[in-house]
Amino acid sequence: MDLIFLALSLYKKRQFEECVKTCTELLDKNPFDQAVWVLKMKALTEQLYVDDLEAEEEGIAEAFMDNETIAESARPGTSLKNPGTSQGGSTQGYRPWTQTGRPVSGVVRPGTQTARPGTMEQALRTPRTSKTARPSTSQSARTIRLGTASMLSEPGGPFIQLSRINLGNYAAKPSLAKPLFLYILYHENSIRHALQLAVLATQACEFKDWWWKVQLGKCYYSLGLMREAEQQFRSALRQHQCIETFLRLGRVYIRLDQPLSALDVCRTGLEYFPKEITLLTEIARIFEGLNNMTMSVKYYREIVTEDSTNVEAIACIGMHHFYTDQPEMALRFYRRLLQMGLYNAELFNNLGLCCFYAQQYDMTLSCFQHALSLAKEDDVADIWYNIGLIAIGVGDTRLAGQCLRLAISADSSHAPAYNNLGVLELRRGRVNEARAFFQAAASLAPYLFEPYFNHAALSNKLGDLQASYIVIQKSLEAYPSHIPSQELLHALEKHFTFI
């Protein structure tokens, strides 16, 4: 069989490794065969291609060393930085918050757990395990691992020596330039070279090709030049409307912390592509980021009517129902996920909780048993914690204590477990232990108000009013509208000013 035909066929069958092998053989025979060269490049790129829109994560450096910040204190509901200010949003009292002051989301995706911390120290201190740590910059080793192979040495040197290549020669030939650009961007992850090529190529095609403009925008975006990226995307959109461009322009606005502009962009996109799932998902996520759960869930519902197997939408709607006191509805959504073939610890954990709160007691514990047997290392702690909650609900404090201790032994930085353990110890009258647990929970998770409040209430009861006063202020910092904290603070203030 003709080797070129074989290589092409392999490429189509997505057997990239064999395709690369065949291409290398061909290139050894004739190093100047451009068709084979392009095919090899494409195969290498495809091997490592990642959906950079989904996998995108804002690094610590981007969050802190950003010089685009305009308003320090944005008006309520217009910034992703302080979602707590939006009106009608959920509060910590109903829906637990993650460490960044954001309600938990139905699905874990980059950015839901570690978005925009308040301070640098907080960002660096977050329990940094391999699963939860955020990268220091988005151009860090992690993206290299995700998207490129350049870290691993290849036998016989790299396929293309970027420093030696004359980009100008290729820029004028669109059939060569486009694969080469993608190769540089995804395989080599060399944004500088990619940008160079893109600039030359747009000039060569006299600024008429929208594809190059999008690529230019992509490069500017990863270099942090948001306004330039915005310009390129907008200009590309004038020439040709494409879903990806809308999404990327939206991301630019999110990075600039202008979620309302991002929403506008996505809505414009929806006019060209009505009911497009990716755009709808983007809108729903932005609303979730703004802590506007009703709107978010509205869009997620729209997604479900279009695509009834969208895991993210179903999970988010389920979560919303659970935290708005309708566990029976949540149960139905999670059951749908189970029917779709999802079979993991998180799902069974959620099913168990829904069953318990919807009073379907016969299924509760078997769900948790399933969850435990399926759990991976980093979920075990949460599942033990939830079983602890069930045990507290049943009234078996001994069992609850054991479960919470197991949660802590699985994850020594599980702050809610420390807090609940503290409450259990307090019920048994062991004040010192309780206080130690509250302190531990507070130091591990300063974003939770419960440990602070418990600690303050305990100190108040013991007569250590000064400590209580200091701690209750921290509680109010974490959750300003917590009425019992406010009442305690008020009582303490009254006590201090009274002669």
């Binding site: 201190r125 391999s130 860090s140 029976e328 201790r405 032994s409 002669i499």
Partner: protein, 598 residues
């Protein structure tokens, strides 16, 4: 609904004349005064900068927006005031700075006179003791013991300054202190706590004034401005009780030669009045909280006082409570704002957080926002400007605002904005989600199969208990517990990993959570893959652990692996002579971020 348009109106009344966020002047209202120092009609701002509280204490003069002169002060001042002490032309006021037990008088910003408060009687026994120790008749130890006995007898406040200082020292420093100080005569002096002025014979603006000084020994002294003799000495005691009250804030009105009233707000929360010819004060009222700042209205001698319980209260001259308003935050400072063109005197109250409110009587007429809480506040003539409001914030910045000449406060009416329609809170509907059809169906199921469900649940619960117990035993056997279980050493361990890598800092904190028993003989051991990590201190010796305190232990850990992988590190707390670790925790190390090339 009324508040937003009113706010706009407020802003227009004041002009921002000067803002200096780097002035770095830390002061209080009592240490700020405005004076026509050179008798040229250009009023200067004289302010005592408290600096850090011990160093950088300076008397600063601002001319316009720039710093005109600076004079170092020896001690922290408690009050600064300007007054005319003679009838000489040109009419130049003197500046009085109260500091410690002295009052320094400056004229033309040059030191002019120092007035020391009269020294007080010393217990003869104490004097005798100091004499004996000087002549080395008694041992130092015996001397201190005798002083301590004396303290028990007459009370700490009745002793001399030296004895007081000596008795507060550590036992190690006493003998050197005695040696240094026994040569000096024994003195007992009081200190100035607050100061104000009182016009002597004429009510004119440039008339001669007396200084009124409140002291720590619970006295109010009225000083003659020329000879600096004590004209009046008023005890702050009560006829029915022997307790003395130390004045914290003084206000005076009237003329010394005719009739005057001095009101002292005392530290014990009493408001006391002194009048001409009295040798003792009379308690007007016992306040519900400690005073922050006070002013007397010149018209009807009513007293407006800000208290520490977030209220602003007004008392008549007889001590009757006239009105009381709750402030939105704690008051920091207060100053009168006389507006002759509107024939009213407002009261400006600065609140914690930076809000400044102006009240006409009990009516809020204006609000100013400062970037920080204002600690020092004064209103008066500054430069050529008639109505200037000078503010010093807690972070040391200086703000000057000028009242527009056309400004007109809406003094009558404006409505009571504070009132909220009663029952408004009861009309808010609670958002209770409706019970769904599904819920009802499930309830039916529950009702029909209750016995079966209960049995299943109980069976599962027993199964769960067994599982949990097994898992607990497993955790116990593998010593995988950051919190000790019952019976073992009451310890708690928590660990944090800081840094971006490849060098991390690991902070292990140990806490003894027992009620009273100490724990010793512990060590922290790290167990890790030596191909992946290297550690500064793989073993840390733990000192004696006192109950309740958290002890942090730090070590550096470096990822030495070529591949960007991460591993687990086990932390074990071990005890001497025990083969099993007391506690253990697994730390999932973060991935180290090698910065990629862009």
């Amino acid at each position: 609904m009324m508040s937003s348009p009113r706010n706009l109106e407020y802003e227009q009344l004041w002009l921002n004349a000067h803002t200096d966020t780097r002035a770095a002047v830390y002061t209080f209202s009592s240490c700020i005064t405005l004076a026509d120092l050179n008798a040229d009609g250009d009023f200067k701002l004289v302010v005592a900068d408290l600096g850090t509280g011990s160093t950088n204490v300076k008397l600063k003069v601002y001319k316009g927006t720039s710093l005109h002169s600076e004079t170092a002060l020896l001690d922290v001042p408690t009050g600064v005031t300007s007054f005319y002490m003679d009838l000489n032309e040109p009419r130049m006021p003197a500046i009085a700075v109260a500091s410690g037990s002295n009052i320094y008088i400056y004229k033309n910003m040059r030191p002019y006179f120092k007035f020391s408060l009269p020294s007080m009687d010393i217990n003869p026994l104490e004097k005798d003791l100091w004499m004996q120790v000087r002549d080395e008749q008694i041992e130092h130890g015996v001397f201190i013991e005798l002083l301590n006995n004396l303290r028990a007898e007459i009370g700490f406040s009745q002793m001399s300054t030296q004895s007081q200082h000596l008795l507060t020292l550590d036992s190690s420093n006493t003998s050197s202190f005695v040696q240094q100080n026994c040569k000096f005569p024994v003195k007992r002096q009081t200190v100035v706590t607050c100061m104000t002025t009182l016009k002597k014979a004429l009510a004119e603006e440039t008339a001669v004034s007396c200084l009124v000084v409140g002291t720590e020994s619970s006295e109010i002294l009225v000083l003659d401005p020329e000879a600096f003799t004590i004209l009046e000495k008023i005890k702050l005691s009560d006829e029915d009780s022997t307790t003395l009250a130390v004045p914290a804030v003084l206000s005076a009105c009237g003329l010394h030669a005719v009739e005057f009233r001095i009101v002292a707000a005392c530290r014990d929360g009493s408001l006391r009045l002194a009048r001409r010819g009295w040798t003792e004060t009379k308690t007007l009222v016992q306040l519900p909280a400690q005073p922050v700042a006070m002013t007397i209205s010149p018209d009807n001698a009513s007293i407006t006082i800000a208290l520490m319980n977030q209220t602003l209260q007004c008392y008549s001259k007889k001590g009757k409570l006239q009105w009381m308003i709750n402030l939105p935050a704690a008051a920091c400072a207060l100053c009168p704002v006389p507006l002759p063109h509107q024939s009213a005197t407002l009261v400006a109250v600065s609140l914690n957080g930076g809000l400044l409110q102006l009240y006409n009587g009990r009516q809020l007429v204006d609000v100013i926002k400062a970037p920080q809480s204002v600690s020092g506040l004064v209103f008066g003539r500054f430069g050529q400007e008639e109505n200037a409001l000078i503010m010093f914030t807690v972070d040391g910045s200086l703000l000057v605002k000028i009242l527009k000449r056309t400004a007109h406060f809406n003094l009558n009416g404006g409505g009571n904005t504070a009132s909220v329609a009663p029952g408004a809170a009861q009309q808010i509907k609670l958002q209770i989600p409706k019970k769904t059809r599904l819920f009802l169906d499930q309830t039916m199921r529950e009702r029909d199969n209750c016995v079966m469900m209960h049995r299943t649940f109980q069976r599962d619960l027993f199964q769960l208990r067994v599982d949990v117990a097994r898992a607990c035993v497993k955790a116990l056997q593998s010593c995988n517990n950051p919190v000790s279980l019952e019976g073992a050493e009451p310890l708690k361990l928590s660990a944090q990993v800081l840094g971006l890598g490849p060098l991390f800092k690991m902070v292990i904190s140990l806490q003894n959570i027992s009620a009273s028993s100490m724990i010793q003989g512990l060590g922290i051991l790290f167990h890790f893959d030596d191909k992946m990590y290297s550690m500064d201190k793989p073993f840390i010796n733990v000192p004696l652990l006192v109950p309740g305190l958290e002890y942090p232990f730090e070590t550096m850990i470096r990822n030495i692996s070529e591949l960007a992988l991460s591993d687990q590190v086990r932390v074990l707390v071990v005890k001497d002579g025990q083969s099993q670790p007391v506690l253990a925790a697994i730390i999932n190390m973060p991935v180290c971020d090698l910065l990629g090339m862009v």
